[in-house]
Amino acid sequence: MKVSYNWLKEFVDIDVNAYDLADKLTLSGLEVESVFDIQKACFDSVVGKILSKEPICSNLYLLIVDAGKKQSSIVTSDNSLKIGDKVGIVLAGSYFNNNLVKEKKFCNVVSEGFLLSASEIGIEESSNSVLLLDDEFVVGSYLRDIDAFRDYIFDISITPNRADCLSILGIAREVSIYYNKPIKLKECKVIKEDNNFSVTLDNDCPSYIASIMNVKLGQSCFDMRLKLIKSGVRPINNIVDITNYCMIALGQPMHAFDKDKIGTEIVVRNSYQKERIVALNDLEYELDKDLVISDGVKAIAIAGIMGGKHSQIDENTKHILLESAYFAPERIRKTSRRLKLSTESSYRFERGIDPNLNEYATYYAIELLQQYANANVVGITKNINKKNPKRIEFDIDEINNFLGSNYNKSKFYELGFDVEETPVGLIATIPTHRIDIESMEDLAEEIARIEGYDKLPSTIPRIKLNVNTNINTKDHIREVLKLSGLSEVINYSFVDGELLSKLNKNKSLLYLKNPLTKEQNCMRNTLFLGLIDNLVFNLNHNIKSIAMFEMGRIFDLNQEYDALGIIMHGFKPLNWYTQKNNFDFYDIKGAFESIFGLFDCNIEFRMEESYLLHPKKSLTIYNDGRYVGFIGEIHPDIYDLFDIKFLKSNIFYGEILIDSFNKFKSFYFKPLPKFPIVVRDLNIVVEKSENVNYIKNTISSFDFVYNVNLIDRYDLGSKKSLNFRIELYSLDKTLTDADIEQLINEIFSKLSTRFRATIRGG
C-alpha cells in the first residue's frame, strides 16, 4: 500500500523523520519496501501559469507560460490545458532526473522546457495529462518548496492478516501505539435516520447505509487529487474521488450510484442463476449465487467489488446514493476469484474491514461531499448491526513462557487494547478493526512485535530425542558419481506430455490441471527428457564431452519414486596422457556398477528390450528379482524426436529406481593369504552368446581362486576369445607347479562342461 507521510501526519503527530519511521514500521511487521522522496524528485521544477495556447501542428500546442522570472514557450500535446491553469514546468537549462534539460524543436517550434505529469515526478505509473496545480501556488516558486511536494511515499507490504492497516488511519493507529501519541480523528456530525428509503439486508451483509443527496459534479481540489495520486488512485470526479478518498483514509470502501438511474429501494441478495451485469470496466459478468446490490428490479452492483455501468456517475449526475456497507469477506473473495475481478474495494472487503466503521465513514464522506460537491442530504437509511468487540482472557506468565520473555503487566496496557483486571484474570477488549486477534498467541505476538523481536532473548531448545541418523544413500551415490567424472543436473519435474507419450506409449501420465505452458504440462515418469534436453543444450554450446546424472522423483498416476538417470555422450575429456576415447556402453554400465557396489543388493542384468533403447545394445536391471531399471544405447528412433538429428548414435542412457538401494554393503574381513599367490592366465574360446559374467562367477566360485579378471576379449568368427587372469592360492601350503596345473585343469574342465569352452589354439 502506498502511504503519504504528510497524510499520515494528519492523523497522528510524528516526531521522527520518514526514514526512521520506515525502519520502525518494518521492524514492527509493516514492511516498508521503499521510501520515495517527492521533494527530491521535483528537482528544479517551478510553478508556471499558462498565458496563451495555440495549435501548431498535428495534436501539438504552443503554450506561453509565465514561469516567474521569464515567460517561456512550451510545446505540449495535452489539449485539456486551459489558459490560466497552473502547472509544474521544467525549464531548459535546469536539471531534472539528474539530466540537463535542453530545448527541443517540435514542428519547427522551439520548446523551452516541458510540463510535469505525475508520472514524471514518479508518483503515478502512467499519466495521460499534465498535473494541474493549485490555483493558490505562487508563479515561479519551486515545487520542492511547496508543502504538498515536501512529502514521502512509503510502499508498505501489508500481510493478509493486517486488513486494518489498509488505510492511512490504520497505519496511523500503529504509529500512535509505537510512539504513544493520540490519534487525531475529526468529529463528524451524526445524521439522523429517515426511513423513506428501504434497504434489505442479507446474512452476509449485516450493515448497509444508503445516503441520498443532491450534488454538484466537478473536479476535485488539488489537495485531494494529489493525495489520491500519491496513493495510487487516479482522480476522476469529485464524487468518485471522495469515495476513494474515504476508502484510502479510513479503510471503508464506498460506492456512489446515480440515484436517477436506479429504482426505489436497495436489496442485498444472492444473484439469480445466470444473472448478468455490465460492470464499470465495461465487461459483462455472468453471476452465480454471488452477492449483489439490487434496486429491487435488477443487479446494480457486484457487492463489494464493482458497481454497474448502468448506474455510473456521469457529467449529468445530480443525485447520488452513497453506499457504505460491510460484506462478509469469504463471499467477496469467492466472487472476486471466480470472476477474476479484483479492485481496491474487494481487496479490503475480502481481507475484512472493521464491521463497525461504515457509520462514521458515511458522515466523514458526507462532510467532504458537502464541502467539495455542494451536497445536500435528502435522506439516509441506516440498517446497522453493530458487532461487539472480542474479549480475550490472558495470563502474563503464559505469554512470557511462550515467548521466553519477561514483560511486566504495564506493557500490556500499551498495545492499543483496553485491559481490565477481573477476578478470573486479565481481559483484553480487542477493537473491532483488529479482526486478526483471537488468542493468547496473537496477544503474545502483539507485545513481542510492539516491543521489538530483537528485545527477546535467544535460547536453545532442550529437546532430548533419539534422532535416527538414517544415512543418506543419495549423498553417497552423488559423491561416487562425482568422483567418477559425472556432473549432477536438476531439471523441472514437469515435462511435455505429448513428447512423453511418444516415448512410452503404454504408460498413463499424470497431467497438471493448470500448467504454465504446454511444454510443462505433465509430471515426468522418466528422467530422460530432462537429461536429453541438457545434452542438446550443451552440444549446442560446443561442449563435446558429456557425462551427467540426475537424481529426482518420477511419477505415475498414483505414486512417486526416486530415480537415478545417467546420460553419456562424446569423448572422454582429453589429456596429454590419454588417447581420444569415446564414451561407450561399458562406461554407463560401469557407472551403475559402481553404485551397486555401494549397497547390499543382488543385481542381475537381463537381455530384455526397453522402450528407449537399442534392442541389441541394452540390458534391463533386476535387484533381488525385482525390475529396477535399464541401461544401453539410445534407440535410433529417439534421435528423430529431438533436436539431435545431426547425431545418429552414441548416446548412452541408463535409469534405475533407487528406493531399493537403501542398505549399505556390510561384509566380514577375509584373512590375508599366508602362502604366496600365483598368477596364471587362462585363455578360452566360447560361443559369442555365452554370458561372460556367468563364466567369471564360475571361476571365482573355486575356493582356491583368490581373484579373477578378464584381461582380454576379442571376436573369433561366431565365437569369442576370453583371457582370464586368475590368482590362485592355498590356505595351507605353497602351491607347486604341479598343483597349479591341476587347479587350472579343474577350472577349465568345469568351463568346458558348463560353457563348452575350448582352449585358445588348442
Binding site: E441, S487, L512, N538, H541, N575
Partner: protein
C-alpha cells in the same frame, strides 16, 4: 708388480660397466686371477723370501682391490649422475581422477542439513504430489483463505497438487509420531510463477520442533546459530510477519553479504537480506494433528536463495539450465561431511 699395476690401470681405463669390472676383478683376484696365482707360487719359495714377497704381494693385492673398488665407486657415481641428469616436463598437469560435480543446490542442502543435524535435528521426507489437505487445509489454510494468493499452486485434480512448501512433510510426520519432534524436511516445491527471479520449481528446507516447552526464544536461538554457521558471523534481524500456519510469525534478515550492510542493489539499499520465514506453530495446526499441550516452532527457507548468496549467482535460471560450464565450476566445492 709394477707391470701388474700398469696392466690393471690400463684395463680399468677401458672398463665402463659394472659387468666389465666384475670380469676384471676375477681376472686379477679370481680363482685363477693373476694376483691369486702369485700367492699360489709363494709356497714354493724359501721361508725368508716367502715372508718378504708375501708382504709385497699382500700390498699388491690390497692396491688392486682398492683400485677396483674405487673404480666400482666411480662407475656407480657416474651412473647415478647420469640418472640425476634425467629431466621431466615438471609442469605438465598431474594425472588425476577426472572429477565431475555436484549441483550447487544439493551442495547447499547438504551443508544446511549438516548444521541442523549437528544441533540434533533429524531429516524427514515426503511426496511432491501432495494432498490439498496436507499442503493447506491442516496447516490452517482453508480454501478461499487469502493466504492462498501468496502461493499460486499447480493442481493435479480437486484434492491433489504439487506441494508449494515442504510443510506437508511436517503434517505427515506429526500425524505419524508423537512429540518430542525435531527435524528438517528438504525437497522440491512448486509455485505457478515464472520470471526473472522466480522459478516454477525450487527447493526448500523446512524445520519443525515440537515439545511441551518450546519457546519463541528457542526459535531465535536455533536460527541465529544456524545463520552464523552458514554465512559466517552475521547480523540477524527478526521482523514480525504473517504466515497462516504460525503465530507469532517472523521473517528473518541477515546483514547483506554483498555490501556488508552499507546498502547496495542486491539488498535494495536496505543493508539487509531476507532469508527465512518462521514462527511458532499455530494452535490450529497442532490441534489438527491431535497434539494437545504441545508447542512448537517452524521455519522455512529457499535453498536457491542461499546458494545464490553463497556463490554470488545472480540469475536463478542458471540453476536449471544445466550448462556444464556452470555446473563444473562446482567440482571443487565443499561437500559437507558430517558434523560441523
Amino acid at each position: 708388480m709394477h707391470e701388474i699395476l700398469e696392466k690393471l690401470d690400463e684395463k680399468l681405463k677401458k672398463t665402463i660397466t659394472q659387468e666389465d669390472l666384475k670380469q676384471l676383478k676375477s681376472f686379477f683376484l679370481g680363482k685363477n686371477g693373476i694376483v691369486t696365482n702369485l700367492f699360489r707360487e709363494l709356497s714354493k719359495l724359501p721361508q725368508e723370501e716367502r715372508i718378504e714377497k708375501g708382504k709385497i704381494f699382500n700390498e699388491l693385492k690390497h692396491l688392486v682391490t682398492e683400485k677396483i673398488e674405487n673404480k666400482l665407486e666411480d662407475i656407480k657415481n657416474a651412473k647415478k649422475n647420469q640418472e640425476l641428469e634425467q629431466e621431466l616436463d615438471l609442469f605438465l598437469d598431474g594425472k588425476s581422477l577426472n572429477v565431475g560435480s555436484i549441483h550447487p543446490v544439493n551442495l547447499v542442502i547438504k551443508e544446511i542439513s549438516d548444521i541442523f543435524l549437528s544441533m540434533g535435528f533429524g531429516v524427514e521426507d515426503g511426496p511432491e504430489v501432495e494432498l490439498d489437505l496436507y499442503n493447506f487445509e491442516l496447516l490452517n489454510v482453508p480454501k478461499n483463505h487469502p493466504a492462498r494468493d501468496m502461493q499460486d499452486t499447480f493442481y493435479i485434480d480437486e484434492n491433489r497438487l504439487l506441494r508449494t512448501q515442504t510443510s506437508g512433510v511436517q503434517v505427515r510426520t506429526m500425524l505419524k509420531k508423537q512429540p518430542p519432534l525435531m527435524f528438517i524436511a528438504p525437497g522440491k516445491v512448486y509455485r505457478r510463477d515464472s520470471d526473472l527471479t522466480h522459478s516454477p520449481m525450487f527447493h526448500q528446507i523446512e524445520g519443525l520442533a515440537v515439545d511441551k516447552d518450546i519457546k519463541f526464544s528457542d526459535l531465535k536461538g536455533v536460527l541465529e546459530t544456524f545463520l552464523n554457521k552458514f554465512f559466517g558471523k552475521t547480523k540477524v534481524r527478526f521482523r514480525p510477519s504473517y504466515f497462516p500456519f504460525t503465530e507469532p510469525s517472523a521473517e528473518v534478515d541477515i546483514g547483506c553479504v554483498i555490501c556488508g550492510g552499507k546498502g547496495c542493489r542486491v539488498c535494495s539499499y536496505t543493508g539487509y537480506l531476507e532469508v527465512l520465514g518462521c514462527g511458532m506453530v499455530h494452535r490450529n495446526v497442532l490441534k489438527n494433528v491431535g497434539y494437545e499441550n504441545f508447542r512448537g516452532f517452524a521455519f522455512g527457507l529457499g535453498v536457491e536463495r542461499f546458494a545464490m548468496l553463497k556463490y554470488g549467482i545472480d540469475n536463478i535460471r542458471l540453476m536449471f539450465e544445466n550448462d556444464l560450464r556452470f555446473l563444473e565450476q562446482f567440482s571443487n566445492s565443499f561437500y559437507s561431511k558430517g558434523l560441523v
